[in-house]
């Protein structure tokens, strides 16, 4: 398994599945300092395992909810299929942490609008996980259009790249596909990738 070429950020190295032989990078589209490194099998668009920084840190209240979650012991924060994990208190935690989560933050809990400002992401699960001694926020769900039908499936971990810094720099590592079967099949690979992460000091 080759090691990742994503080493600009907090992930020092990780091991990718053998089949992920395509690699690309895009830098600076969103404010000059953002980047995304993508890995995928051959020339296919999906599945894709990407590491990304959105280009801008978060400050103050916007970021507090996210950081507060990472201080918790690893646990399920929200699970749409579990009554126990989808109570109001769980939803409140999701609301407080959603804004820094980019497009997946535009989910049914954070955004309750209808019509053309309705959410685009259905949040299935959010949990705090510990990966190689570091707490991360893991989000699973799918993007959808107005008809609510799943279009793009996402499994993403959000990482506080510099917990000592006042501004919160959130990096993302995610698996994304447009096919549920493929998504399920790639889950095991993605778990292996997560287990292989070596963080920067």
């Amino acid at each position: 398994m080759p090691s990742t070429l994503s080493s600009t950020g907090v992930i020092k190295s990780m091991r990718l599945p053998e089949s992920y032989t395509g690699h690309s990078k895009s830098i600076g589209g969103n404010g000059g300092e953002d980047w995304i490194y993508s890995h995928y099998p051959g020339k296919e668009r999906y599945p894709e395992i990407s590491v990304r920084y959105s280009g801008f840190p978060f400050f103050g209240n916007t970021a507090d909810g996210f950081r507060n979650l990472l201080k918790l012991e690893p646990q399920v924060i929200f699970d749409a299929s579990s009554p126990r994990h989808s109570r109001e208190q769980n939803q409140n935690l999701v609301r407080e942490a959603s804004l820094p989560l980019g497009n997946s933050g535009n989910n049914q809990i954070f955004n309750t609008k209808s019509g053309n400002e309705a959410p685009i992401f259905f949040l299935e699960k959010m949990e705090v996980q510990n990966i190689s001694q570091k707490n991360v926020l893991r989000v699973q769900g799918y993007f959808h259009g107005p008809d609510k039908a799943p279009q793009v499936f996402l499994d993403c971990v959000f990482i506080d790249a510099d917990p000592k810094s006042e501004e919160v720099r959130i990096e993302e590592l995610y698996l994304e596909t447009d096919n549920k079967g493929l998504f399920d099949a790639e889950q095991a690979n993605f778990e292996q990738v997560l287990k292989s992460i070596d963080w920067q000091n």
């Binding site: 080759p2 090691s3 990742t4 070429l5 994503s6 080493s7 600009t8 190295s13 032989t21 395509g22 690699h23 690309s24 990078k25 895009s26 830098i27 600076g28 589209g29 969103n30 404010g31 000059g32 300092e33 995304i36 993508s38 995928y40 020339k43 296919e44 668009r45 990407s50 990304r52 959105s54 280009g55 801008f56 840190p57 978060f58 400050f59 103050g60 916007t62 959603s98 804004l99 980019g102 497009n103 997946s104 535009n106 954070f110 955004n111 019509g115 053309n116 400002e117 685009i120 993007f143 959808h144 259009g145 107005p146 279009q151 793009v152 996402l154 993403c156 993302e172 995610y174 994304e176």
Partner: protein, 668 residues
């Protein structure tokens, strides 16, 4: 063709602000306002009518130069010169500006004239039609004969209602704010109220409290807060008002690229706001009420309707996203570089216009959605890293479908950005009165056709030449093409490649580069050497083009300003290698430092040792000298005693045999 645009939708309450709760005004007063507006529009149209311009030019002339006029008559000079009617006509004409040029036929009919700004205005066939409204007789620029390209509209056509001196005031705007902010928590509402008031005051200072620009801005504020507009809800209306005030106060700080990778669009909007805020405000009002606005019309280009709210868009451009839907916040949207609601509308407007320019140049039929493209059938815009926009193609069946871009490694991915090639960027800038897009000659020459650059594109040689070209209008911002990676980090790998930003010459003659990224990149001055490096593509080591010529060099005609995806060699960890190389370099540096330190310490030790040795030697020498001195003194004393004894013995006649004392120096 995409520049065949629908006419703007008539709004139900056109001409009057109909805010709920606003007292109905006297009908005759409204009629009078309309008359005033109609007259203003007619006057504006007259200004654009070449016949009237010619008449005015002649009538205003006090004295002319017949020679200059003759030289400027263009073709068939000899024939024209012989024609007594022409001679009479031209002699009658007293042209104030000798550089003004007339193009006339042999029978003396004036075909065109060009005032001193070089803008040639034809008096085409349309001008001779009877019963054609004044403004419609104007034939300007290329493409004006295309059906649907509206060449008749003057800038004032973006004005959605007359100025209301009672309501379009700072106080009036604050009342509108109070209506649309009613649902905010009291403390937040008070804070936003204060910010709006501050920004309105700053706008008044920047634009002039009595200026038409400021009046237009106040009117647009009330239009944005009008609940009959297209913005959907009060949160969007409020955000648009706060965003407009921030732009009025300081365009260089209020326009940020965050969450939208469209450097060319944001920098263009920023420059337009700097140059002509009245135009920007009127366009914004038109967007809010009609879903589109007239764009272009400057430098002889046709004005055209840019529609960002076609029915099949399902309101995508007007729907707020997670960032643009947040209450406008200086930290979040300006300092934090997040997309604000008005920025979204701006991106939609200029993105669509850029796409229309590209359609015209390349015979395409594409359209651009800036945000929420998932609402449009056929668009593919969803995903964690997606900016939410989409470039769409209208098929022969009239339906929109996603344009797919081929990336450098052959992958097909959904195009989510407008076609911001430099010629299109220049065209939009030119058509909207910008000073132009400054492009280094090593890139610009690729765009030359028959020895001419595209409209709006200006080539420069180096920093000195750039300064000289901008010096004619100090303080005015122009667009410029740069290497964003170098600008962002001096080559550290941040920032995208081909980048569009702004540049001006300040009052001290420095080049100041505006950038729509974060604060640290904005309004910066660099050394000439660095400017030469990040503007000249010959100096862009490591630049990875998306499009190449057969010889492998970048194809600048196809390269777009904005982000691109680069293929990275299979199984090679470029970044890791870079990082390893960097680490190695750092380690070597550390080793060097360490060795240096060791050397220093050794030297210090040696010096200390030497000092010690020197001190010891000195002490020994001192001791020796002291011993010598002491021995000398003792010897002197002994010798004196011996002589005294010798003298005493001699006096007594005694034999004196004691040996004479010798000098004895103790061994030190």
């Amino acid at each position: 063709m995409a520049d065949v645009e629908e006419k703007p939708k008539e709004i139900a309450n056109e001409g009057g602000d109909r805010d709920a709760g606003d007292a109905k005004r006297d009908g005759s007063k409204v009629d009078d306002e309309y008359k005033t507006l109609d007259q203003a529009r007619k006057d504006e149209a007259d200004k654009l009518n070449p016949k009237k311009q010619l008449e005015r030019l002649f009538s205003e002339t006090q004295e002319g130069s017949t020679k200059a006029l003759w030289e400027g008559t263009g073709k068939n000079y000899a024939e024209i010169a012989k024609n007594p009617e022409v001679q009479k006509k031209l002699q009658e004409a007293k042209v104030k500006d000798p550089s003004a040029k007339l193009e006339v036929t042999a029978n003396g009919e004036v075909l065109s004239f060009a005032p001193n700004n070089g803008e040639k205005i034809d008096l085409g066939k349309e001008a001779k039609k009877e019963n054609v409204p004044v403004a419609e007789s104007v034939k300007v620029g290329e493409g004006s004969s295309k059906p649907g390209a509206d060449k008749t509209k003057a800038p004032s056509d973006n004005v959605v209602r007359p100025f209301d001196p009672q309501k379009d005031t700072i106080d009036g705007v604050m009342k509108t704010f109070d209506q649309v902010s009613a649902n905010l928590p009291p403390d937040v509402r008070e804070q936003k109220r204060k910010e709006l008031q501050e920004d309105l005051q700053k706008s008044a200072e920047r634009l002039g409290p009595e200026s038409e620009a400021f009046k237009s801005m106040l009117r647009t504020q009330n239009v944005l807060g009008d609940r009959s507009n297209l913005l959907g809800n009060d949160q969007n209306r409020l955000n648009a008002m706060l965003g407009l005030a921030a732009r009025g106060a300081d365009p260089s700080n209020a326009n940020r690229q965050g969450a939208n990778p469209f450097c060319a669009l944001i920098s263009e909007s920023r420059i337009e706001q700097q140059n002509n805020f009245q135009k920007y405000a009127d366009e914004t009002a038109s967007l809010a009420m009609k879903g589109g606005c007239f764009r272009g019309g400057e430098n002889g280009t046709p004005r055209q309707w840019v529609d960002i709210n076609k029915k099949e868009y399902n309101g995508a451009n007007f729907a707020a996203g997670p960032e643009s839907g947040q209450l406008y916040n200086r930290d979040f949207h300006q300092k934090g570089g997040k997309l604000d609601y008005l920025g979204q509308l701006d991106a939609a407007k200029i993105g669509q216009e850029t796409t229309m320019a590209n359609n015209k140049a390349n015979g395409l039929n594409q359209e651009f959605i800036a945000a929420n493209a998932h609402l449009v059938d056929g668009a593919k815009s969803l995903g964690q890293a997606s900016p939410g926009g989409a470039l769409l193609e209208r098929g022969s069946d009239g339906k929109l479908q996603q344009v797919m871009d081929k990336e450098s490694d052959g992958r097909l991915v959904a195009a989510k950005a407008p076609p911001t090639t430099l010629d299109n960027v220049a065209r939009v800038n030119y058509a909207n009165g910008g000073g132009g897009l400054m492009v280094h000659e090593n890139m610009a020459r690729d765009f030359m056709v028959n020895g001419k650059l595209p409209e709006g594109m200006t080539a420069f040689k180096d920093a000195a030449d750039l300064k000289a070209k901008l010096a004619a209008n100090p303080g005015k911002e122009y667009q410029i093409a740069t290497n964003g990676t170098m600008v962002a980090s001096g080559g550290e790998g941040k920032g995208h490649g081909l980048h569009a930003q702004s540049v001006k010459v300040d009052d001290k003659g420095n080049l100041v580069f505006g950038n729509n990224w974060s604060d640290k990149h904005n309004n910066k001055t660099y050394s000439d050497e660095f400017v030469n490096a990040f503007t000249d593509p010959k100096k862009w080591d490591g630049y990875q083009p998306s499009y190449t010529n057969p010889d492998g060099s970048p194809d600048w005609r196809r390269e777009k300003a904005g982000p691109k995806t680069d293929k990275v060699d299979n199984n090679t960890d470029t970044q890791q290698k870079d990082r390893d190389a960097q680490k190695k370099k750092e380690d070597e540096e550390k080793e060097r430092e360490k060795a240096k330190q060791k050397e220093k310490e050794k030297k210090e030790q040696e010096e200390a040792e030497k000092k010690k040795q020197d001190a010891k030697i000195k002490a020994e020498q001192d001791a020796k000298i002291k011993a010598e001195q002491s021995a000398q003194e003792k010897h002197k004393e002994d010798l004196a005693n011996w002589r005294a004894k010798q003298e005493a013995a001699k006096a007594k006649g005694i034999d004196f045999s004691e040996p004479e004392p010798t000098l004895k120096i103790a061994d030190t």
